[in-house]
């Protein structure tokens, strides 16, 4: 396939999972659609099943003259680093990670800031002083976010217990629910979930139990189960994607590690109004003051226990 430069602005997305997960992958797909709608780009999406396919697809998009290719996850970094030098006219961006090259960039999300806030809120709401984290598999952004959450919990209640569990996959919702119920059985009354599709089972578990609350992640999941959701640690992926795509289209893009944090409003804590009454005034003011330091750029995670 020859490259037909300048014919159209073409953008591609590689996701590691199904775009129906209402979380990590569906948000990226929404970003791709936003690029299509706002910038009039021609878009293409492919779901990869195995690392063996990363290289192949990066190459195919490069060879067909795409301007911008997103690899949606830190795991795409190495393949992107291998392929990008061969297709200098295509810009490769991985979501997560720290790689950069001439036409290679990565988006890095300061997930820890809103996760810390979520931890503070979870600690305030918890009556048992036991809160849980529940992930799909042990991926770096998930782990980092759980650590920040734990720090947030301990900032409010230094003696609270935080337990962490992983389901082992991202799509077995029944297992997600069962893992949540196991935590609830242990006394957990707030669960921070980051398990994509399988995480839907966590909401289901909270709905079935009395006074157990969930913190969502990646997308704004407040509408999934409004009565039991305290809020969501949101990455506004569509916003991040279109920011990058605009620069690429305008040919002003500089290869770099693009930091998105609370200040850039891409990564943020979105409280759920439906459960706002659970928070005491004291808790709200405490959270607001920490958020202020984040917005000012002065926040750093306290050293963990």
């Amino acid at each position: 396939a020859g490259s037909e430069r300048g014919v159209a602005f073409r953008v591609a997305l590689l996701t590691p999972g199904p775009i129906t997960d209402q979380s990590w992958n569906s948000a990226a797909y929404a970003g791709l659609m936003r690029i299509k709608d706002s910038l009039g780009a021609q878009v293409s999406h492919i779901q990869t099943k195995t690392p063996a396919e990363f290289d192949e697809n990066f190459r195919q998009y490069g060879a067909s003259g795409y301007s911008l290719v997103f690899g949606h996850g830190f795991e795409f970094q190495e393949a992107a680093a291998r392929v990008s030098p061969e297709y200098p006219n295509t810009i490769y961006v991985t979501t997560g990670g720290i790689s950069m090259g001439k036409n290679l960039a990565s988006m890095s999300f300061s997930f820890d800031e809103p996760s810390f806030l979520a931890g503070m809120i979870a600690a305030s709401v918890s009556k048992s002083d036991i809160v849980g984290c529940l992930g799909g598999t042990e991926l770096p952004p998930v782990k980092a976010s759980f650590l920040a959450f734990r720090a947030g919990v301990h900032a409010v209640k230094p003696r609270a217990t935080v337990i962490t569990a992983f389901i082992g996959n991202w799509d077995d919702a029944a297992a997600g629910k069962e893992q949540a119920l196991a935590q609830i059985g242990r006394g957990v009354d707030v669960i921070f979930q980051n398990a994509d599709a399988a995480g839907l089972g966590v909401f289901q578990a909270a709905r079935d139990s009395k006074s157990v609350y969930v913190v969502g992640s990646n997308s704004n999941q407040n509408e999934v189960a409004p009565r039991v959701t305290l809020g969501s640690v949101v990455i506004d992926l569509p916003h991040a994607f279109i920011t990058v795509a605009r620069e690429v289209k305008a040919k002003t893009f500089q290869a770099r590690v693009i930091q998105f944090n609370t200040r850039s409003a891409v990564v943020r804590w979105v409280p759920n109004p439906a459960t706002a009454s659970l928070l005491s005034a004291r808790a709200i003011s405490m959270v607001d003051s920490v958020r202020a330091t984040m917005l000012a750029g002065h926040f750093s995670l306290p050293a963990g226990r």
Binding site: R59, F74, P140
Partner: protein
């Protein structure tokens, strides 16, 4: 067979063929894909260009051929080893680990050789667990290998989060192999690595073993008539099937090491998207003939590459790859069986 009877039997078959076709078209069209664009993507993405052939189709075909040969060897010996998946993972893990450990101290080719050998051994050992359970306790290998697949899956997950995790201990994957520890490419600028050549050679070798050698003959009679092989041939069939089981695992383990040193260069949790299961279809569609396995492997590789192109270029949903593969298997089965029956019915 009377005409009425022929109709009665042809009817459900026709219905199934129609239904399969309908499913394919409904999925395509309801996904908003243009049928013509989709089909042309399928062709161009699989065999329609030198690049598609050498960088997509044959690269994907390599593990399928190797695992198809592993399954063929086992099934020919009467061993229902459906554990190629787990043995592949075991070989990938061990081969990858050894390649990483030795790349710095040994010359490249030596390190590579040691890594591939380790993969072979690891796959053999993983199969040996099931072989021993069968020999000593009579555990059905269909069940035990299935269990071992799950165990391997979680085992590799443990490894990439633990002992084999890359140095920064951030990502759930191993460090990346240095250039010297990678399998060389066959053509410049194409991703096809020498693993494909190994796979083809192994297919020919296995065919030769079955057709011409005494060991191959003993494997075949053990699979086709174990009691007769033991009685008339005085063959120790338990030993033959035990060894064939382990050899089959060794091939699958080698395939895993080839995948890590030839394609991914890194050990991941999802190192296999289910190659071991697809390989059963590859082997059986090839009627357990080693040379035909090469063809069947390439066919499936082309299907997968073509399905990926349909996703990229025609907006067909990703699930269509597995639908296409399944329909291809069922289609081949139906045609094959119908022809067999016509032959049986012919006077």
């Amino acid at each position: 067979m009377s005409r009425a009877r022929a109709w009665r039997e042809a009817l459900p078959v026709g219905a199934v063929a129609g239904a399969l076709l309908l499913v394919a078209v409904v999925v395509l069209v309801s996904a908003g894909a243009d049928l013509r664009t989709a089909l042309s993507a399928l062709w161009i993405g699989s065999l329609g260009s030198r690049y598609a052939l050498l960088s997509a189709t044959l690269v994907r075909a390599t593990p399928l051929i190797l695992l198809g040969l592993s399954v063929t060897l086992a099934f020919r010996a009467g061993v229902l080893n459906i554990g190629a998946e787990g043995q592949f993972i075991a070989g990938a893990s061990a081969g990858g680990a050894v390649a990483l450990a030795t790349a710095a101290v040994l010359p490249g080719p030596v390190s590579l050789l040691v890594a591939l050998t380790t993969g072979v051994v690891a796959g053999g050992v993983w199969a040996a667990v099931a072989a021993e359970l069968r020999r000593r306790f009579g555990v059905l290998e269909v069940i035990s290998t299935l269990m071992l697949n799950f165990i391997a899956l979680y085992g590799v997950s443990y490894l990439v989060h633990g002992p084999l995790q890359e140095p920064t201990h951030v990502y759930p994957q191993s460090a990346t192999l240095p250039m010297v520890a990678r399998l060389p490419f066959v053509f410049d600028g194409q991703r096809l690595h020498v693993g494909f050549i190994l796979a083809v050679l192994l297919g020919l070798a296995l065919w030769y073993v079955f057709a011409r050698t005494a060991a191959g003959f003993r494997i075949r009679i053990t699979g086709a008539g174990a009691a007769a092989a033991a009685s008339a041939g005085a063959v120790d069939t338990a030993r033959v099937s035990f060894l064939a089981f382990i050899a089959s695992g060794a091939i699958a383990g080698g395939a895993g090491a080839v995948e890590v040193t030839g394609v991914t260069y890194t050990l991941f949790e999802r190192i296999s998207p289910g190659y071991g299961y697809s390989a059963i279809a590859v082997a059986l569609l090839a009627r357990l003939h080693p040379v035909a396995v090469i063809g069947a492997g390439v066919f499936f590789g082309a299907l997968e590459a073509g399905a990926a192109a349909m996703q990229r270029d025609a907006g067909v949903p990703s699930q269509f790859a597995s639908i296409l593969e399944a329909l291809a298997i069922l289609g081949v089965l139906a045609v094959d069986r119908l022809r067999a029956r016509r032959q049986e019915a012919a006077p």
